[in-house]
Amino acid sequence: MSDPRELYQQVILEHNKKPRNFGKLESCTHHAEGHNPLCGDELSLTLVVANGMVQDIKFTGSGCAIDVASASLMTGAVKGKPVAEAEAMAEQFRGMVRGELEPGTQTPLLGKLTLFSGVKDLPSRVKCAVLPWATLHAALKGEAEASTE
């Protein structure tokens, strides 16, 4: 088991303190509520999707630093990307933090999101990091709710 403190790098702490894309899109095309029953983390995502692209995305909610930083970095990462690419990122991200990727697997789509790779050694926190991505997945599929239960 790695030291939990290693996860709390400056980028994550900074995004927790000043989350990007925080708020609500009034005229959204997609939205979903995410809930982590174990922690009580709650997340609300609103998106504008047009021409197969994530034109805009915002989130609100409350949760731990891992959850908030993950949502902040996720919204930044998928904004302006094709929906298919956002979905592929969600898959890679979940594979990474759950430790399900084959050793040596490249995650070119994730960029600085690989900051969260340390979460895989903290099983109790995996759900926190995954919640925004699970909520994004639900929103893109047209489902109103996502739960990491």
Partner: protein, 415 residues
Amino acid sequence: MSTTPGADLQPLDVAVIRKDFSLLSRVLHGKPVIYLDSAVSGQMPIQVIERMAKYEREEHTNVHRGVSTLSQEATDFYEAAREKVRKFIGAGSIKEIVWTRGTTEAINLVAQTYGRVHVKEGDEILLSAMEHHANIVPWQMLAQEKGATIKVIPMTDAGELILEALDELLTERTKIVGVVHVSNVLGTVNPVKEIIARAHVKGIPVLVDGAQAVPHLQVNVQDLDADFYVFSGHKLSGPTGIGVLYGKLAHLEAMPPWHGGGNMIRSVSWERTTYMAAPGKFEAGTPPIAAAIGLGVAIDYITALSLDRIAAYEHELLLYATERLSRIPSLRILGNANEKASVISFVVEGIHPHDLGSLLDGDGVVVRAGHHCAQPVMTRFGVPATTRASFAYFNTREEVDILVSAVEKAIELFR
């Protein structure tokens, strides 16, 4: 805070006691383990572990089975543990001591037997605002089935029950009161004796959840006049999988059995089954024998240390930790009751309890971060979760200091 109980007693020799707990010399993330999580589960002294191992190694069989020497021996050990429990909580008879898997099962047993007989449509079940889910959900399930209502005794911001509300809440429709003796979140020691007396004036029985009380204070169920008193072995320096339901004999005798099966019957034919008397009729199937014997040894261990001395020592630790943590400006302690057991829940501005829990873990400090299976308490105080440090008789002031500096380090990191 109340005056220190047992201040005139010989203090505990904590350095010697600590040698009985191997986990305390473990290293976590390169740091010595600081176990401040006894409210989640107490550590077992080596005496308990070795006694259970001896049973499994040299004495293992089943209880109440046949005429073999081994079975008789196992039954004697198992029943001797029941007698230890009886004495420990001051019950009048071993017939009043029912083994269960734990506090939760004990409450479910009462809800599903006593409750199903006595609670009818339109009736009320009165609980307190600081109950653990274990003393909420079984009653909600019963209320839903019967069309009954749950009422709640409110509490103050300090985390004390508002007893002035009791007279109005105890009505002719109230069929049972469930109240926690010591809050697992706030540490509040509730005046259960008074609550019981006031309920009894109106003829209403009371179940006391004693899971967090028995490790910290001397309980006498007859003095309290509790109708039901329940607790778990694993919070009392014993193993998991064993717990106790104390019930007044008159109640237990009148209650129908719950689980059916072997061990709880007197005779079985295709036409009809007759049941054992209490406590046997509530103990279907093979029980956790080693765990029961282990709990007996845990009680011996606690009794040898003396609960008065434990209470005095833990009270000092609580005062010290409260004082040290209170000096951190961004930290808020939830629960400032006048009577408190050695449990401190707190929140730190700007740091989610789960982050704090992970960071403390990195420093080897084991605490609980979460809702503590008491979500209505979280809602009452307007927080999603708290960090909770709970102290046992083997903890030290030095460990409190390490907790405080780990919290300060986390605050610095999040600044």
